[in-house]
């Protein structure tokens, strides 16, 4: 078991996570779905260390990381809005996290080239982020997150702001890249296409709780309650 989230409770005043539990094996691709405001992003950001839980535990590779500082977790996060550092080139963005761990700059260069090739952005390395298209930017953000070989990759609606074709293309690239890097993924989305083409496990959230987890077929064919049935049926 690489990730164990146990009875996680986070109190943000108006909003609370109420005992979220979730497990992932190495290489799992878990997609989290649920209505807007159900707490999907909060789950990711608590795992990343941005919020302190009031109860519960997060274990990563057997180690309790519940209160570990963000920078000690080796958990990468990718956002819908990319959050690329605008004052750095694409190369510098991707190399950023790697430089912290790897002093040898030729190894850094090599690793950046490798991930850039996998994601098809080798020709963009000298550019500034704001000169790239949305899809290109997102590939850079994913490269920056993966190149440090995170124990866990978190993605919060990574394809939401993109057109259908770009999304399709990115799904394929992400699938290939996380396989190559043997990464475990938590991916939040509103797009069931992400579930079908990427997930081997799905978690459905509602009001700060996970109401069902299971393989994609299970969720769609045997929803546990009316809410899940409605949610996966509606859309």
């Amino acid at each position: 078991m690489i990730l164990e989230i146990e009875n996680l409770c986070v109190d943000l005043g108006e909003f609370k996570l109420n005992g979220v539990s979730l497990k992932a094996d190495r290489g799992d691709y878990i997609v989290i779905i649920g209505p807007t405001g159900s707490g999907k992003s909060i789950v990711l950001e608590t795992v990343a260390g941005f919020y302190k839980p009031i109860r519960g535990k997060i274990r990563l590779e057997g180690r309790d990381i519940t209160f570990l500082p963000i920078e000690k977790r080796n958990v990468s996060i990718v956002y819908q809005d990319r959050a690329l550092f605008p004052h750095m080139s694409v190369f510098e963005n991707i190399a950023y996290g790697l430089k912290k761990k790897e002093r040898n700059s030729s190894i850094v260069r090599e690793e950046v080239r490798k991930i850039a090739k996998i994601l098809g952005i080798s020709h963009l390395l000298h550019r500034k982020p704001d000169t790239l298209s949305g899809g290109e930017q997102q590939r850079v953000a994913i490269a920056r997150a993966l190149v440090v070989k995170p124990k866990l990759l978190l993605m919060d609606e990574p394809f939401s702001a993109l057109d259908v074709k770009t999304r399709e293309n990115l799904r394929k690239l992400v699938k290939k890249a996380v396989k190559k890097y043997d990464t475990t993924v938590l991916h939040v989305t509103h797009d069931f296409e992400d579930v079908f083409s990427l997930a081997n496990e799905v978690a459905v959230m509602k009001d700060g709780e996970i109401v069902q987890t299971g393989r994609p077929e299970e969720i769609f064919s045997r929803p546990l309650n009316d809410f899940v049935a409605d949610f996966v049926d509606g859309d």
Binding site: I70, E71, N74, I77, A83, F85, A145
Partner: protein
């Protein structure tokens, strides 16, 4: 200080924020009088004087007065600058292995560059133009505790209009230069 105000939420934050803004809205002379009294008559002032630090009617007084005039503006600009930098950048930097301070240095400072520069320029300009505070605290005596606005004032009261206009022009030119430099740097980004 501006950074702390923008990033952290703590009880009494709004009170501190208002206190920081007070010198901007407060009648200038009243405030300066307080300063004068603080450094002159109170135990604070006496203790400093015994330690050999004389503020009132000295050149040091000019500096102190200028700091007190410009600081609230600087803090204000820094506050809104740091507030405008999305904290997400810093969090992403930390998730990539950098500590709080390193992330601040590598990401937040460069993104806040314009504001930091604006704050410097305005602080400088405010300091140059500080009048009331300098006059009260440093006394504004000829050739000793004189700053440009005070030269201007002294010359007016002597009826030396030529000198007054000259120092006025120097002040305006300096302010203009400050803005010009600011525009240049900002435009170059």
């Amino acid at each position: 200080m501006g950074y702390a105000m923008a990033r952290f939420h703590f009880p009494g934050k709004s009170v501190i924020k208002s206190l920081m803004d007070l010198p901007i809205a407060f009648p200038e002379l009243v405030l300066r009088l307080c300063l004068l009294l603080l450094f002159g008559q109170t135990p604070v002032g006496k203790a400093m004087e015994e330690a050999g630090i004389r503020v009132v009617f000295t050149k040091l007084g000019i500096v102190v007065a200028q700091i007190f005039t410009a600081l609230p503006y600087a803090a204000r600009i820094l506050y809104s600058t740091f507030e405008s930098v999305n904290p997400r950048y810093e969090l992403v930097s930390r998730s990539l292995g950098y500590g709080e301070f390193e992330s601040f240095k590598n990401v937040t400072i460069p993104l806040a560059r314009n504001g930091l520069f604006a704050s410097t320029v305005i602080t400088f300009a405010r300091s140059m133009g500080a009048f009331g505070a300098v006059l009260i605290l440093a006394g504004g005596s000829y050739m000793n505790t004189e700053t440009l606005p005070i030269t201007l004032y002294l010359n007016i009261s002597y009826g030396n209009i030529g000198m007054a206009i000259t120092s006025g022009i120097v002040l305006v030119v300096l302010a203009f230069l400050a803005i010009l430099v600011f525009e240049k740097v900002e435009g170059g980004l």
